[in-house]
């Protein structure tokens, strides 16, 4: 499968080698403003991406192209568990969602897709709590749209990344960490895609997978752990075409 959009975290392409290689495949580099942690390469021209809100940890961009549904992308590289408590991560997620919801309201559009290195697992507080990134693992449940918690309405996201936990299809996560504490899981799914339920109906659940090789490059070491990068990329397809044709599938691929 050929990707249309490639999103990278902590990528340093100072010598332009990657852009040069991608240019041959008709990719453009979307300019960066304030969030230098996240690079976006796309087969769609940069004019279709509008930067809306940024911190150094996230970039909220609108993708507006006449052939496709207008989408709000929230691209993240949130704080590491090594330097943050659960509360820190919860509150950072809450700040992020404040900005996302402000943009949704301003644009009158809830076609929102969040992608990147959340540095949290799907079950962590920041990914499941009302007021933060309130995600459900079940699209049918998320289609309820929102719920009230203590009198306040909070919208749902659908998080298909729950399906990446465990070893039914290897590897068992995107990041491996041998933690010295009593409670450990070793394999984590820190790299995720989550969607508002409205746009999630266009998401191809079967397409979501962790990449272990790209072309002839193996991303795992001899023990089956991430090599090259400490994270493994995820890849998925979503049909954003306004008309139901076979030509309008935008596939997004993330490396974090």
């Amino acid at each position: 499968m050929e990707a249309n959009i490639l999103i990278l975290a902590e990528h340093d392409d100072k010598d332009g080698q990657l852009l040069h290689a991608l240019s041959a495949r008709h990719f453009f580099s979307v300019p960066q403003i304030g969030c230098r942690r996240i690079s976006v390469f796309s087969q769609f021209e940069p004019k279709y991406f509008t930067h809306r809100r940024e911190t150094d940890r996230y970039s909220i961009m609108e993708f507006r192209n006449p052939e496709f549904e207008t989408v709000l992308f929230g691209l993240v590289h949130l704080s590491s568990k090594l330097y943050s408590t659960d509360t820190d991560q919860l509150m950072e997620a809450s700040h992020f969602i404040e900005d996302i919801e402000a943009m949704e309201q301003q644009l009158g559009n809830k076609n929102t897709i969040l992608i990147g290195d959340f540095n949290m697992d799907p079950f962590d507080l920041g990914m499941t709590t009302a007021g933060a990134i309130q995600c459900l693992s079940c699209l049918e449940s998320a289609k309820a749209g929102s719920r009230k918690a203590k009198g306040r309405e909070h919208s749902f996201f659908y998080n298909p990344s729950w399906n990446l936990l465990g070893d039914r299809s290897r590897p068992a996560g995107t990041y491996f960490y041998r933690d010295p504490h009593h409670r450990v899981i070793y394999w984590h799914v820190l790299d995720q895609v989550v969607l508002r339920p409205g746009i999630a109906t266009r998401f191809d659940k079967q397409s979501l997978r962790i990449l272990t090789e790209i072309g002839d490059v193996n991303l795992l070491d001899e023990r089956g752990k991430p090599a090259i990068s400490d994270h493994l990329p995820i890849c998925f397809s979503i049909d954003l075409a306004i008309q139901q044709t076979n030509t309008g599938t935008a596939n997004e691929e993330l490396v974090a």
Binding site: Q32, I33, R52, E62, M91
Partner: protein, 142 residues
């Protein structure tokens, strides 16, 4: 009962971080010929609770704004203080904290008076990080 209050109160003449940054925001519009501005926005209650130890009376975020690129906003820093303005706590953008050599595990610093605040604001506004973001907004606004 007799009046226990002082005979009169004097309005504080100390500049808060908020006042300083709002004034600098106006100057930025002039310098960039209206292309880049800045804003100081009050944070919600949850954010106040999180960003400071204890619960500060006031907490704000300082954003750079690109009027001609759909009101693009970039968060430079968050700051908070009590009713007396100082000490004030500041949490910086990660790259800015690195450039200013501020504790990078928390990206935080504090200032204890208006003079220290002015020194800090001077460093922030003159930083490569802020120059770079303003430069990118100028370029993309053409």
């Amino acid at each position: 009962m007799k009046n226990l209050w002082p005979e009169q109160f004097e309005e504080s003449t100390t500049d808060s971080l908020n006042t300083m940054l709002e004034e600098q925001a106006k100057l930025l519009i002039t310098i960039t010929k209206g292309i880049v501005s800045a804003e100081v926005i009050e944070l919600g209650e949850m954010s106040k609770l999180h960003e400071a130890s204890g619960s500060p009376d006031f907490a704000y975020r300082f954003n750079l704004v690109g009027k001609f690129i759909n009101d693009y906003k970039f968060q430079v820093m968050i700051f908070w203080h009590d009713i007396t303005f100082y000490p004030a706590g500041v949490k910086f953008d990660g790259q800015l904290a690195k450039e200013l050599q501020i504790d990078q595990t928390k990206n935080r610093a504090s200032v204890s008076n208006a003079l220290e605040a002015e020194v800090l604001v001077t460093r922030v506004l003159g930083s490569e990080r802020v120059r770079s973001v303003v430069g990118s907004i100028l370029r993309l606004s053409k």
